[in-house]
């Protein structure tokens, strides 16, 4: 059947379009009617309301900043709170000639030209019209009185009360909790302008920065009617701000103080973890500084002193200090060697006081030049025998060593909520090729076996590696926040636990570490002898300057600041670890002599009661029933 030829029916099309045009016209008329009605409603029905607002008064929307969440230690003691403080604000639109007003402020309060420049910069940072911009903080009673007396000369200038961050514990938590400071221009660009419209401070470092979103809260606002001079006449509408979440930390104020006391004024770092939970119990980087200085803007002079001090108080040694782990890495190396099958629990190495690679003249020396004779794994850990670990490292090889040490957290950031942490370095063939364009040399593997060479770790990483031995490989990232607004911290990318071919390998290394303090020839026997409980630990030394082949390390010849750093890691009680500690004493020279007593003092503070007895909750028989602290 032939298809009928479809002709375009122009008349029909035109009719169709014309009908649609009528519909369109009706729509346009209806919607324009709506617009006219809306304008009528606003301009006639609501005229009185709007004209009152606009003629004699003005409507303003004022942000109400939320109260920043508080920070507590694990026992509920305040670490960061908010304190009322008076600041001087300028509203540019009300000041008229605001530059002239600033001159008057400087004159009235007897300030300097630099202050004047700072004020001008702060005023220009104001973000919305009619926003009072704070220019001077922490006004004294006297300053407030001066402003009040001269108020007639200071249009647009007001004294405003606001809550400002305060750190009652001063220096104790400057390196962990951090501090807040004034929002700078760079931060301003990245911020949600609405939520921060009433906020002048933001977390700059530490917990204050990491949990900024939680601590800040949600801005509130009020619509207010003001008179022409800016005085608020009445509040039309108010939405309360939502205060920020409180954070309870895992840190313990008493332990923190004890750890600082244990360092005894020396430069260094202490970090204490609870192995089973990853909670950071104490975190010390000495010397420290007063975070309160930074809150309302530190003076150039104070900042210069902190920055230029040879003791580097601003330097976070726990998170950013990188040290060769030295012999503290040996227990982990031993576990790697056992699991890879290159050594066995009973295999022995003869130590004549040095180690030589086949066909190479170079002698890799044991610290004990005389040699320890035949050593097995546990003796090697107890004696910190370098020769045994040269041999182990040579057999293990760099590739497997890199894999094992990475699983212990070396060469990567291990913490959950510590922004400042650096990853350290666990070298590999690829790294060396990329970094130096050179192949890997076997000798470099040897010195890695005793924690020297390219390897670098932070005290936090050393503590975590030790904690992993204490938990037999169970990974929990170290963290500072115990609960945020009542919720526990969540690890978005948990590390896989370390699984060994035979779990008894853990025990071998742990027993070796216990022998360091309690064995007859243990390197830290003097410290172990005084302990009321069993400690498993390992000393280490981090070289500051390299010693030439054949030369002997002589501390007396060296400048004090070039002496070796002393390291010690450990956990206790050895059979039921409750605390893992890593200590680094800058230029302390002797791991077992200087750092080990610090570790023991920190453990004592955590584990012992006032009678010098192990607290009941930590005694093995009761540990199952005891409630966790």
């Amino acid at each position: 059947m032939p298809q009928p030829i479809q002709l375009k029916d122009h008349e029909k099309d035109a009719r169709l379009v014309r009908r649609r045009v009528y519909v369109g016209l009706a729509v346009v008329m209806a919607f324009f009617g709506v617009l006219a009605a809306r304008m009528y409603y606003l301009q006639v029905v609501q005229y009185d309301y709007h004209s009152t607002l606009s003629e004699s008064n003005r409507v303003h929307v004022q942000p109400i900043p939320p109260t920043r969440g508080l920070i507590y230690d694990r026992n509920g003691r305040i670490i960061a709170d908010n304190r009322p403080s008076f600041s001087l604000t300028v509203t540019r639109e009300r000041a008229g000639d605001w530059r002239g007003v600033l001159d008057t402020v400087v004159e009235v309060l007897g300030l300097t030209v630099e202050d004047r420049q700072l004020f001008e910069k702060r005023v220009l940072q104001g973000r919305r019209p009619f926003e009072p911009v704070p220019i001077l903080f922490e006004l004294s009673e006297e300053q407030i009185a001066h402003v009040a007396v001269n108020q007639f000369r200071l249009p647009g200038v007001e004294v405003a009360a606001q809550l400002v961050r305060h750190y009652p514990q001063g220096m104790h938590f400057a390196h962990s909790v951090g501090y807040v400071g004034r929002i700078n221009e760079q931060e301003l660009k990245a911020l949600d302008p609405v939520n921060y419209s009433g906020t002048h401070h933001i977390g700059k470092t530490g917990i204050e920065k990491f949990y900024e979103d939680e601590l800040h809260g949600k801005v509130g606002y009020e619509e207010v009617e003001t008179n022409a001079r800016g005085r608020v006449l009445r509040v039309l509408k108010r939405t309360d701000p939502e205060p920020g979440n409180d954070i309870t930390l895992t840190l313990d104020l008493q332990l923190q103080e004890a750890a600082e006391a244990a360092l005894g004024g020396r430069r260094g770092a202490v970090i204490a973890l609870q192995p089973s939970t990853g909670e950071v119990l104490a975190m010390v980087s000495q010397p420290s500084f007063d975070p309160n200085l930074f809150v309302t803007g530190i003076s150039f002079k104070d900042y210069g002193e902190l920055r230029d001090s040879i003791d580097r108080p601003l330097y976070n040694r726990v998170l950013r200090g990188l040290y060769p782990p030295g012999s503290t890495i040996k227990p982990a190396m031993a576990i790697a060697g056992l699991d890879a099958g290159v050594v066995t629990p009973t295999s022995r190495v003869f130590d004549p006081g040095f180690y030589q690679l086949p066909n190479v003249k170079h002698k890799y020396r044991n610290w004990n030049r005389g040699g320890d004779g035949w050593v097995d794994l546990q003796t090697a850990i107890m004696r910190s025998n370098d020769t045994y670990f040269y041999d182990l490292a040579h057999k293990l090889g760099i590739d497997r060593m890199h894999d094992y040490m990475s699983r212990f957290g070396l060469g990567q950031r291990v913490a959950l909520d510590l922004n400042e942490e650096t990853g350290g370095l666990m070298p590999s063939r690829d790294w060396k090729r990329a970094r130096y364009r050179q192949p890997w040399y076997p000798g470099e593997t040897l010195i890695l076996g005793i924690g020297q060479g390219y390897m670098q770790a932070t005290p936090l990483q050393l503590a975590q590696a030790t904690s992993l031995i204490a938990t037999r490989g169970k990974w929990v990232r170290p963290h500072l926040a115990k609960s945020i607004g009542g919720r526990p911290a969540v690890d978005p990318e948990p590390m896989p636990d370390i699984e060994l071919r035979d779990p008894r390998y853990w025990d071998l290394a742990r027993e070796g570490m216990e022998m360091v303090l309690h064995g007859a020839r243990g390197t830290a026997k003097r410290v172990g002898d005084t302990a009321a409980y069993r400690i498993a630990g390992k000393s280490g030394t981090a070289q500051v300057v390299a010693i030439k082949q054949g030369e002997k390390y002589d501390s007396k010849k060296l400048d004090e600041r070039h002496r070796d750093h002393a390291l010690f890691v450990g956990f206790a009680p050895a059979d039921d670890p409750q605390i893992a500690v890593a200590v680094m004493v800058e230029n302390g020279e002797s791991g077992s002599g200087v750092a080990a007593p610090v570790v023991k003092q920190v453990m004592d503070a955590w584990l012992l009661d006032e009678h010098g007895q192990l607290k009941t909750e930590f005694t093995p028989t009761l540990s199952a029933e005891a409630s966790p602290r």
Binding site: V17, R20, S54
Partner: protein, 381 residues
Amino acid sequence: MTASFDPTLSSEDVLRRRASFLQRIHLDATLLILLLVLGAVGLFVLYSASGRNWDLVSKQAVSFGLGMAAMFVIAQFEPRFMARWVPLAYLVGVGLLIVVDVMGHNAMGATRWINIPGVIRFQPSEFMKIIMPATIAWYLSRRALPPSLKHTLVALSLVMIPVLLIMRQPDLGTSLLILASGAFVVFIGGLRWRWILGAVTALVPVAVGMWFFALHDYQKQRVLTFLDPESDPLGTGWNIIQSKAAIGSGGVFGKGWLLGTQSHLDFLPESHTDFIIAVLAEEFGLVGVCLLLTVYFLLIARGLVITAQAQTLFGKLLAGALTMTFFVYVFVNMGMVSGLLPVVGVPLPFISYGGTSLVTLLSGFGVLMSIHTHRKWIAQV
């Protein structure tokens, strides 16, 4: 004038002989007068809204002149000529939008501009405001009306490609206008009512379902703030609160030219661009707003007359869509400033400051004039 046109005349020569001078140079007197009135009003209001900024006003005047020139040139082209080249222009336009998209992402920020330094700098999305309805009109005018389901779907996909690209820029206002311009072609082409109703009734459950199952809380919050800006008085809502106060305080007769207070005291951001109607409403009152609405209405009415009288289907569809899009411009802008609609960046035609939008709008009217003054009795399909 145009009203005296007699459809029984069958030769262009006769038409030419009887046509006025304006018709011979392809301009439509009614449209021209209304446009000049709007242009003048716009400059007056802008002078006040910009805080007596002569530079701004003279720049706007120059843009208006350029737009008039563009309108004049475009009016000289026959609609048949436009229909021939529109598919190519569409492809070029989409290509440029993709270029902008890629460049924008490489520059790690949103950009709407094609910029060849020293040569040319323009927004491809503005270009699409005219190409879009022309493309759909070209496509549908070659098919039987009302469009079949297949042709409707093809037309809508042609619309959605540039719309989605522009939404990504992100420029919600422009993408909505382009969506409207394409959709109006299909509507005027006689899209069946039951399909329209069907689509609307199908969208409701989908939207409700998305709301309850697909959207996160923060996304819901964003939608709510968008629909009700006054719930966010520190962000967009601030503009609305202030613009409502400005409009409302104008009353019936207004405070007088240059005498508005709300809009001059830095209360009203963007007072010379998207929110300029608040200035006009404050200074000229309800009377001024209604007069402006009347002028807009006359323009739209004239556009619809041209639609009805157009001889080719392409001309009808294109004229109708351009006219209705112009209406959307006006309605969306005034609706958002008076707090009826969510805030999307749509300027008020001929009044808001902005050269690009002026030139585009006047070009659109150039197309309308071309359609109206190139009529021959034999239809060009």
